[in-house]
């Protein structure tokens, strides 16, 4: 018999609240604990609802759930995700068209710099693949006519870094201290826990940008505070302006990328063909770029406090 949604929007379950607070406290300890350390089991997991939206007690609890999905509770760590995504072009007034497939990874590395604030740096690499057969490509047909489009690998190496804490995100190139809030919802679905996240757009980015994802993990991992990093399966999309290689000149419209992927244990788990190409072309990108942390944070941004 299925679990039902009767607990979804019903009275809050006090045992769940107690468990969550316990999990957060345990998580802090687990972040520095050695692997395999014993952990206290959460209080009566069966008392929590089968389905529903999790209510966080405060911004700190909410942040810790998000950070555990996207990064790791450890003081210093890495998070690697890989994905395939299809890119679509949406010129105003014309039929949207698929253009190219990409296979890529996002590699982030982070250090705790405050009670609940981490500094994060990251890089992304994605290689274009043929829409139909998935082969690596350097050219794709222009769905709106005209010459074939030269499409190049995407290597995003200029990320300025960001601080992430209960107040949100603070990009390290922000002109002023303005923490960016985020839309983050966690839902139980029977044996799965899903995290829905709409990321904020930093100041100075193209206005027509949004990125949103739904990531799911096994509930038993979410319920286990020894798990400092949740290995999710994820899908999502982002909206962004036409890239230069689309040759859209000043036409109105935008692109849309829709992805499906997962968080991996480390670079050794990257898909073989992708990893082989990266090892050949940019082997240094298979490792965290810890040297990014050598750059000092501007003093006016470095005055973070917990929420």
């Amino acid at each position: 018999m299925i679990h039902t949604l009767h607990a979804l929007f019903g009275p809050e379950d006090p045992s769940r609240r107690q468990w969550l607070l316990g999990a957060a406290a345990l998580g802090a300890a687990a972040a520095t604990a050695a692997a395999g350390a014993s952990a206290t089991a959460p209080a009566d997991p069966t008392a929590r609802p089968a389905e529903g939206i999790l209510k966080f007690a405060n911004a700190r609890e909410r942040f810790r759930a998000l950070f555990r999905f996207e990064r790791d509770w450890r003081d210093e760590g890495t998070a690697l995700s890989c994905y395939q995504f299809l890119m679509y072009a949406l010129p105003d007034g014309e039929r949207p068209q698929p253009v190219v497939r990409f296979e890529g990874m996002e590699f982030s590395y982070f250090r705790r710099v405050g009670d609940d604030v981490w500094r994060i740096h990251a890089h992304n690499v994605s290689y274009p693949r043929d829409l139909g057969n998935g082969d690596f490509v350097t050219q794709v047909a222009n769905p709106f006519g005209g010459a074939a489009l030269d499409v190049v690998p995407m290597k995003l190496l200029g990320d300025p870094g960001v601080l992430h804490g209960p107040r949100g995100y603070l990009p390290l190139d922000a002109p002023a201290v303005r923490w960016l809030d985020t839309h983050f919802v966690v839902r139980y679905e029977d044996d799965l826990v899903k995290a829905e996240h709409i990321r904020p757009t930093p100041d100075g980015w193209p206005r027509q940008f949004i990125e949103s994802s739904v990531s799911s993990v096994a509930r038993k991992d979410f319920d286990d505070p020894r798990v400092t990093s949740l290995r999710y399966q994820t899908s999502g999309f982002y909206v962004f302006p036409f890239p230069k290689w689309m040759n859209m000149a000043d036409r109105a419209g935008h692109m849309l990328g829709a992805w499906s992927g997962r968080k991996l244990a480390g670079p050794e788990r990257l898909p073989r063909e992708f990893a082989a190409r990266l090892a050949r072309e940019n082997p240094e990108l298979l490792r965290p770029r810890w040297q990014e942390f050598d750059r000092p944070i501007r003093p006016e941004l470095a005055q973070w406090t917990d929420a």
Binding site: D191, A218, R272
Partner: protein
């Protein structure tokens, strides 16, 4: 198979693929690359494999998808903004009418929910205009039906038109098989429309050719014009929605709150009107 079993089947792939995270913490990393390769099929096999993942290979079957989705408004030249969450179903029925040829009819039903709390709502703030707008449930019941085959899809409001090919690419990723699919709108639909999805099924189930129906987790999105309730007038722009859900066995697996409301307000939409199959299809394209 109830929804818990469906989820467990899907999770079995997930857990096996990543191993238990705790186990992974305790053990040194294995140098085992994730399998990721494209599967090549002839058009008929691709169609039949697609049916197993997306629907069922049975000659006749109800097919039910349940999902949550978030709608985002994308005005021209301005920042996209999330507007409302929905919980919904797509319920359809197909019947085999020839070799690898199926006729299907179906409908969708979705109820709006608040973005953050998830509570059912009947109005939301239009973040672009600042106006509170009424959001009615979406009961999409005017689909004319279609005929699908390896050649593509024929919509039954234009049965004489040649089938439109459908994009389906399969990938094997570790213990999963994923199907990327794109549905392009038929002629006559608003130009600002496209629908894309990625369906994921355990490779173990996929490899068992005895199984006509495969459990699937679905994610995807669609682009569509401003709905009337957004009151956007002639403002240029469009909407985008992203969903995540499952293929379920039947309505008994639906979350109780959704099912109760559907049974109370739209009881007729908890089943497919089979009478539609009695209507002949004059001039059906042979493709």
């Amino acid at each position: 198979m109830d929804r818990r079993v469906t989820l467990k089947t899907l999770l079995a792939g997930s857990i096996a693929a990543t191993s238990s995270t705790v186990d992974a913490l305790a053990a040194p990393h294995k140098t085992t690359h994730w399998t990721s390769n494209f599967l090549e099929f002839d058009p008929i096999t691709r169609f039949r494999q697609g049916l197993r993942v997306q629907r069922s290979l049975a000659d006749e079957a109800d097919v039910l998808h349940w999902y949550h989705f978030t709608m985002v408004a994308i005005p021209v030249g301005s920042a996209p903004v999330p507007v409302v969450r929905w919980e919904g179903i797509e319920l359809s029925h197909h019947r085999r009418i020839g070799t690898d040829r199926y006729r299907m009819h179906g409908h969708n039903l979705s109820f709006p929910r608040a973005l953050d709390s998830g509570a059912f709502v009947d109005d939301v703030l239009n973040p672009l205009t600042g106006e509170r707008v009424k959001v009615p449930p979406m009961a999409l019941t005017s689909d004319p039906g279609s005929v699908i085959s390896p050649s593509g899809i024929i919509r039954l409001d234009a049965p004489g038109v040649a089938p439109r090919p459908e994009y389906r690419v399969f990938r094997r990723e570790g213990d999963y098989v994923k199907l990327d699919a794109i549905r392009v709108a038929p002629a006559g639909w608003p130009v600002t429309f496209i629908e894309m999805g990625c369906e994921s099924t355990p490779a173990k189930s996929f490899d068992d050719s005895r199984l006509e129906w495969l459990p699937a987790e679905v994610s995807g999105g669609y682009v569509f014009p401003w709905p009337a309730w957004m009151n956007m007038g002639k403002t240029p722009g469009h909407m985008f929605a992203i969903w995540r859900g499952y293929k379920l066995r039947d309505i008994d697996e639906l979350p109780l709150e959704f099912r109760r409301r559907a049974a109370s307000e739209f009881p007729q939409l908890l089943q497919v009107d089979r009478k539609q199959f009695d209507t002949p299809i004059p001039g059906l394209h042979p493709g």
